[in-house]
Subunit: 167 residues, 3 copies
């Protein structure tokens, strides 16, 4: 494990643009994995991804039970679109997915952000999406350092060994 | 603001692979933000993203009212899947989203591409998707420089401080 | 064609996180295009993307006939959500899309992976998603080199001229 790595990844600038559980977790897992490796992390939430840093919504994210043809029933059978559409099913499947995450030590979104920030990760909101959704600063998680433009995001993404990751 | 940036982002090679309003705008906003910072921009449209550079379709993009569990009603309540499914609702929500964009000075797709190209951004179409959808060159926006392979895209993405962003 | 490229893309570390045909093919096409250019390729399958390297599922991927407002009828008309919902329609459209791919010499997923691996590409599965979906090693394609953490993925993504691409 004392493998010397040539040109290691030193920074990840992760954009979270979608608001379903699986899309948000994909971004947070990439961020947390980086923090644990000592890689610098900048998280930029935009469009529906803003839900993940909006206090009232961040722990109520849902999974898409329609529009995801890879979704499965508990036994592994395909998940019928007509079923995914029914009121209550989306909530049920979402709850099940959150429990599976917990069983694997993946915490709820707000606690996951706590962990990432404690490890040195920085959290930003996209100004354009913030204005579009008519949010107020107090709607956002206290971890949000600033509401910034895309141009400022590119400045934060600078650096040798930096990777922009759009999830 | 005379902050000197180490290893700045100098080029972004942005892939737009999806055709909903929010996915296309995500790519265009990343591109426009880069142009405004003096960053070189290459935009590569593939799969359903080709709609954004297809003349007849680029200003008729729609938002996904189903399959996006983060979608909300105007007052902030969850958007029921059964409602999103009804004919007319998708068109209504899409029109509303475009108006919100306009109110924030985000132009329609064709004008947005005009702006990006005027700022030096370059636009390419993916040959494989172009063939798959049986498009003709005249179907595409006049801004399209060429219809290229993925291999050629990687060549265009070369350069120090370059970032590939798949939206 | 003897164009000398400055700072060429030398490696792509591609993350496939979604399981629909179009999302999986997007990742594989980016990977194959890289292999053909002599670019080093690491493919990392996570979340629903794992279906693409799960033996029983990799050739049964489906397209999303709902939740994709860019989806079209064969003649080019919009695809009504109510139609996409009906049992059988998703399967029919998925079969049609696979045939179009074949007509363009894009092989089925398992053969496509064969090609990428034959060209030197390496395939990895995400440990977290693997555990979450309760998979066993024998469920996965024989091409999978290892089931790895996100931290290990970042190590594999290291190198000058490397690009992380999240599809």
């Amino acid at each position: 494990m004392v493998e010397k790595i040539d040109h290691p990844v030193k920074k990840v600038a992760i954009i979270v643009a979608k608001g379903s559980i699986e899309d948000v977790y994909a971004g947070l897992i990439m961020a947390n994995g980086a923090v644990m490796e000592g890689i610098e992390v900048k998280l930029f939430f935009t469009f529906f991804g803003l839900d993940a840093i909006t206090k009232k919504r961040q722990n109520k994210l849902k999974t898409a039970t329609v529009g995801n043809p890879a979704m499965r029933m508990p036994g592994g059978l395909p998940f019928p679109t007509l079923l995914g559409m029914l009121p209550g099913v989306e909530a049920g499947v979402s709850a099940m997915m959150k429990q599976q995450m917990l069983a694997l030590d993946v915490p709820p979104v707000d606690e996951f952000l706590d962990m990432i920030v404690a490890g040195g990760g920085e959290i930003y909101a996209c100004k354009l999406a913030f204005d579009m959704f008519k949010l107020k600063r107090e709607d956002l998680s206290d971890h949000v350092i600033d509401v910034i433009t895309v141009g400022r995001f590119y400045e934060l993404a600078a650096g040798e060994g930096s990777q922009i990751i759009f999830t």
